[in-house]
């Protein structure tokens, strides 16, 4: 299995997800929407498994490979949110975002090296990155919702139920963000000798984490300031983007980060 086969799995998976999103939006056949989304995940998951086997290492090393997991976890996050809280538009959101990341991988892959340097050969590698990608997917869904409702035309429609959804996405996202960061610390101790070394990626990860802590505390304190709360979600997600790939381009991080993707 190589990247040449990607489209043959991604396209049917997307068809399933779009169908699931359509059904969840237009009708009340919840179980059918869930089944279709799960079918899409199985197809997409089969590709990840095949790639993992043929690369002889977890596909988590390059930017393109992390995007692959992101495309997978977005519908997972959407599915959990839909089945638990019944927001019928969430599957459409997650499908659109997943579609965008699938397209980036199809047209700009940056994914060609089969080798894995010794520092990445660790049992911590897979959990660290997978947990982070899942957190990014949840927080990405939160950011999309925040972006939509912070627009002046949509602000009237913000209500307690919507803020409850944002809270839940941020709680779950922050929980996984925390675990991903701490797994990284435990791994760093084994690989580099110290659990925290203020590498540029770590600095931005800390800032991102604190931004979501601010959201959580702000929501307890100022429950009626919805727009400001949505603004914090967007601010946190901006920091997250810098942490995920922005550091690769920041002049302050050139040549000093040990977290560079190739």
């Amino acid at each position: 299995m190589t990247w040449d086969h990607y489209i043959y799995f991604a396209a049917p998976a997307l068809v399933c997800w779009i169908a699931g999103a359509w059904i969840s939006f237009r009708s009340n056949r919840k179980s059918r929407a869930i089944l279709l989304t799960v079918a899409g995940l199985l197809i997409f998951g089969a590709y990840i498994a095949g790639l993992w086997i043929s690369l002889e290492r977890p596909p988590l090393r390059t930017m393109g490979e992390t995007r692959l997991w992101y495309s997978f976890f977005l519908p997972v996050a959407g599915l959990i949110t839909y089945s638990r809280w019944n927001y019928k538009w969430i599957l459409s959101f997650s499908t659109v975002m997943s579609f965008v990341f699938i397209c980036i991988n199809l047209f700009k892959p940056e994914i060609h090296n089969k080798t894995l340097m010794p520092a990445l050969q660790s049992p911590w590698f897979a959990p660290h990155v997978i947990v982070y990608m899942f957190a990014y997917a949840l927080l990405g869904a939160g950011a999309l919702i925040a972006l939509y409702f912070i627009l002046p035309a949509n602000r009237r429609r913000i209500d307690g139920k919507l803020m409850g959804l944002c809270d839940n996405l941020v709680y779950a996202g922050t929980a996984f963000l925390t675990i991903g960061m701490l797994f990284g610390a435990l791994w760093a101790k084994e690989a580099w000798g110290h659990y925290w070394s203020w590498d540029p990626k770590e600095t931005w990860a800390a800032a991102t984490w604190l931004a979501y802590l601010i959201y959580i505390h702000f929501r307890i304190q100022k429950q009626n300031q919805h727009t400001a709360a949505l603004g914090i979600i967007l601010f946190g997600f901006l920091l997250l983007q810098i942490c995920w790939f922005g550091v690769n381009y920041l002049p302050s991080a050139q040549g000093v980060s040990i977290h560079t993707y190739s």
Binding site: A175, I179, A191
Partner: protein, 411 residues
């Protein structure tokens, strides 16, 4: 302003005050000098910090002004100010906290290039830590079962951060370069000072497993791999394998994983060579699919003993073999301790060795000589506060699970 009960304005003013105080201290005294903050001073300092928090918490039960410090307004303002400093830190190129910038002048005087040892950062970080401690104590003093997630998250973070800061003075980190000749017991610290250690290492053998050789086409003028931006390669681990590179069909007819090269007329040839210093060479036949032209010859990545060699396909293109990438490198060592223990062990990346409170990491080797390196470089780390930091980290992991499974309720 400053009338009870305090609000956000007071919170922002305290943070600004700490920031300005920090800047003034930075301009007048330079960066925070933490050289003396090690055992026993760090233990005493931490004890005093905890006692101070305890007193504040105890007094705060009656005094509103003290209770403000364990509230959400203090939390939000202090969190925001630390984020601001972290963003400045992320946008500014950082240099090692031990580097001396005192004569550099200009922007470096703000201390932002060594953020973690600058006064504004240290003051605001300690302020946030103090607030976190007070919040934790306040909740623990009226603890109920449903507070367990809260307690794990807040106490865990407080314990991890406090131990990390207090322990940084006791952290020892030394580089040691061990060779085959004799045990080495000296290490070099970050400032290139030599230290004698209670642990000695003697190298028995050093090995690198490499990934199979790769073949790529490069542009003769610019030396970049083709196609530009999306280079392709074929993995050539044995004779008989082949593949397509651009418009060429490649076949490997002879594979020498252990080879010696010698000059013959104006080309380089390779023969089998099973000894120290061997390199990798492949004999290749390349056929152009469009015009049927055949090119053949040796391709090798070369090394410190033998020349590198490429196969010229045309005026603009050549086939090369990049240096083989290490898959795994490991050192077999004998470790001696002061107590007289002798141990044989294998140390490799991601698998450090624990001896007498030290962790020994494989970090490097003679990269010029690659797999024939005559020495191996280790890092020895001792961090006596690590178990306390780990306690905090494990509490936070458990706390994160609580945050996911039973999130706090906001209405």
């Amino acid at each position: 302003m400053w009338k009870q009960p305090w609000g956000y304005a007071e919170g922002w003013l305290i943070c600004c005050g700490l920031f300005l105080t920090g800047l003034i201290l930075q301009f007048t005294t330079g960066k925070v000098d933490a050289d003396y903050f090690r055992y026993p001073l760090n233990l005493i300092g931490t004890g005093l910090f905890l006692i101070l928090l305890g007193i504040l918490q105890f007094r705060g039960r009656k005094k509103n002004s003290l209770r403000w410090f364990s509230g959400l307004k203090a939390t939000l303002t202090s969190l925001t100010s630390v984020i601001v400093l972290l963003i400045i830190m992320g946008l500014t190129r950082q240099v090692s906290p031990s580097a001396d910038l005192s004569g550099a002048g200009g922007f470096s005087r703000t201390g932002f290039m060594q953020m973690t040892s600058s006064w504004p950062f240290v003051l605001l970080f300690l302020y946030l830590l103090g607030i976190l401690g007070l919040v934790t104590l306040r909740r623990l003093s009226s603890f109920r079962g449903k507070d367990i997630g809260f307690a794990l998250n807040h106490a865990g973070l407080f314990i991890a951060l406090t131990a990390a800061i207090a322990g940084s003075g006791d952290l020892q980190k030394l580089r040691m370069s061990a060779s085959y000749d004799a045990p080495e017991w000296r290490g070099i610290d970050d400032n290139n000072q030599l230290h004698e250690l209670p642990v000695a290492i003697e190298l028995q053998s050093f090995t690198i497993d490499e990934y199979p050789p790769k073949l790529m086409v490069i542009d003769n003028q610019q030396g970049i791999a083709l196609p530009e931006g999306r280079p392709v390669n074929i993995v050539a681990d044995s004779a008989g394998v082949g593949g397509k590179l651009l418009e060429w069909d490649i076949e490997v007819t002879q594979s020498l994983p252990m080879a010696a090269g010698f000059f013959q007329a104006d080309t380089v040839s390779y023969v089998e060579f099973h000894s120290v210093g061997a390199t990798t060479a492949l004999y290749i036949k390349a056929v152009n699919r469009t015009n049927g032209r055949l090119r053949e010859g040796w391709v090798s990545c070369g090394n410190h003993m033998f020349p590198y060699s490429s196969l010229r396909l045309s005026d603009s293109q050549s086939i090369i073999m990049p240096d083989r990438e290490p898959r795994r490198y490991a050192s077999e060592v004998t470790v001696y301790t002061e107590k007289g223990d002798i141990r044989e062990a294998v140390i490799e990346v991601n698998k450090p060795l624990k001896v007498d409170g030290w962790k020994i990491y494989q970090i490097s080797y003679d990269e010029h000589q690659g797999k024939w390196s005559s020495y191996s470089v280790f890092e020895l780390v001792k961090d006596p506060w690590l178990p306390v930091v780990y306690l905090g980290i494990y509490m936070m992991i458990a706390g994160a699970l609580f945050l996911f499974l039973s999130p706090p309720k906001t209405n």
